[in-house]
Symmetry: C2
Subunit: 343 residues, 2 copies
């Protein structure tokens, strides 16, 4: 029996997740929902541009799909836990496990400890598992450095720097990082809104993953300013205007910075990459060349977590409480044992 899945949210990421789900064996999409009037009523296969006829129409109300009792919900609607809490509650009470790309859900205890406890209790009671994941937060700046500490006898400090070239990204990302704004508008429109959501959560994932008792997590956001005029498909920035963001979140213990996460997303950023350096014994220094494109990688992480969440104990999980997601083709083949093939 394939696992039955509801795709909850058909924005950019949700749509890519739905398409990726159709490419996997052992997974059946039995419903898709979105509130966008232009999407409601569409045939999902046509909307995704795939040949296979899924027999699924995009609905506005997920409750109609819950009557079909999906095993699992892939959820991509918002960034903040309080906003999406009622949706999670609806999924859990319908008996479905949830994998969500909600940024704050990657480590929900940080900003919403009470809601997190409620989610955990509710999921345990209903016998389902809930996970927030994605590439950032969820993998590159938090889960991966935690994994990389696995061969270390001693950790003194963790530094992660993610440099993304925003020139090749889509409009919402360029908008999110303030491309084309004056510096004073950046302060009110970007900096006060918090910029990229989830950087402090990433600090907490690293700290929680290594059992480090952080006493404080801070975040700062600065604009990156154009030295020369720059034009993208969507925006233009004159010299002196904003072309992106430099956001830093630091986790401290007794005033000392133990974890520093440095995220830079701006137009024409040179040498985009993900870089992890953990001081200690042995020192670990790792570079992912070219960086990791969020629009491709976030759907992949979410889908690749499916084999892990279906076997997880009930309750609210984070990436550090589950076995690592890995690429898979066929959900029914995930427990393959390789024997007697040595020649």
């Amino acid at each position: 029996m394939p696992i039955s899945v509801l795709q909850f949210g058909l924005g950019e990421i949700g749509t890519r997740i739905a398409k990726l789900l159709t490419e996997k064996e052992g997974i059946e999409i039995i419903g898709a929902t979105d509130i966008d009037p232009e999407k409601v009523g569409l045939n999902l296969s046509g909307y995704l541009g795939i040949e296979e006829e899924l027999g699924v129409k995009v609905l506005e109300d997920p409750q109609e799909v819950f009557s079909k009792e999906p095993d699992l919900v892939l959820h991509s609607t918002g960034s903040h836990v309080p906003d999406i809490y009622p949706q999670l509650e609806q999924c859990i009470k319908a008996g479905a496990s949830v994998i969500s790309t909600t940024e704050e859900l990657s480590y929900p205890y940080l900003r919403n400890p009470d809601l997190s406890r409620d989610l955990d209790e509710m999921a345990e009671k209903e016998g389902v598992s809930v996970l927030g994941t994605g590439i950032n937060p969820g993998f590159i700046m938090d889960y991966l450095p935690t994994v990389v500490s696995g061969p270390m006898q001693e950790v003194q400090s963790v530094f992660v720097q993610r440099i993304q070239d925003a020139s090749v990204r889509r409009k919402p990302l360029q908008s999110k990082i303030g491309v084309g704004l004056d510096q004073e508008d950046f302060q009110t429109e970007i900096a006060e809104e918090g910029g990229h959501v989830g950087l402090a959560e990433s600090v907490a994932i690293v700290g929680g993953g290594m059992g480090l008792e952080l006493e404080e997590i801070t975040e700062t956001i600065e604009p990156v300013i154009a030295e020369e005029g720059k034009t993208t498909d969507f925006f233009h920035a004159d010299p002196g205007q904003v072309i992106g963001i430099k956001q830093v979140s630091i986790g401290r213990y007794k005033g000392e910075a133990l974890i520093t996460l440095d995220l830079r997303m701006y137009l024409d950023a040179e040498e985009p990459r993900d870089y992890i350096k953990i001081e200690g014994s042995p020192e670990m220094e790792l570079t992912l060349s070219g960086g990791t494109h969020g629009d491709v990688a976030t759907p992949a992480v979410a889908v690749n977590c499916i084999p892990k969440i279906v076997e997880a104990s009930p309750g609210l999980h984070t990436m550090i409480t589950l076995p690592s997601p890995a690429y898979f083709e066929d959900l029914d083949n995930k427990d393959i044992i390789l024997s007697n093939i040595l020649s």
Copy 2:
């Protein structure tokens, strides 16, 4: 209550594990065993060179320690599953979980499927968990690439290259890679003995972790030949003699190489590093600068797996069935929740 541990084997790795165990909170070494007559009877604190008096004497017979009912055994005695099977059986039947650095145990199904099934059943029956791990096999060339595939929508092929400078390694490693041998002696003494143990297991971990149905795993071993004379603290190689090893293991499906692991260990190797490249979408290319020193990292991986194995379901595990090991200081603090510290 701290977790009580028996250190089973006090060779180079076992000794380093024991020392690292004494540096962790929430873990108590209640026994240590080794068959070396020069170690039997020694006071463990003195042998490890630590100030804390552990009150443990090195014993020849582990059975004496099992009467104290250790929760966990850290096991480092051999490389091959059939050789250490009776020791694992002894641990399991004494009701202790096991973390072992036995290379073949990192993926025991490959060479010993029947013994693996027996271990799994025995561990389940006794309610304990068994894991084989280490840095290589166990982490760098297998677990880490599997993790790195987590953000991938499609995987076409996996290539991992580990280049180690053997000049800075200890005598047994230099001996294992044939330093100073003539080329014909290399064939009989090194190549036919299989070289580094565990490279084919690493291929199987990657294949199993990604659900890839490999049909064949092959291994080749070649000597690296001195162009000029080289002298280490332990050996000398004239031009034309062996200074190390190049070992390649390939996992194939329908004749196509899906997984290629390339291990080079030789004197004065330039740019020692670990390099992972996974072709697919998105392509992942990762470099760990300087490589990862096995004598430091293997004990760390083994000890850092403790929090994961004590919470694991009973049975025989591999790295891909458990949450990732991560650095920790205090076993009692491993489930720390970070809340309300955002400022």
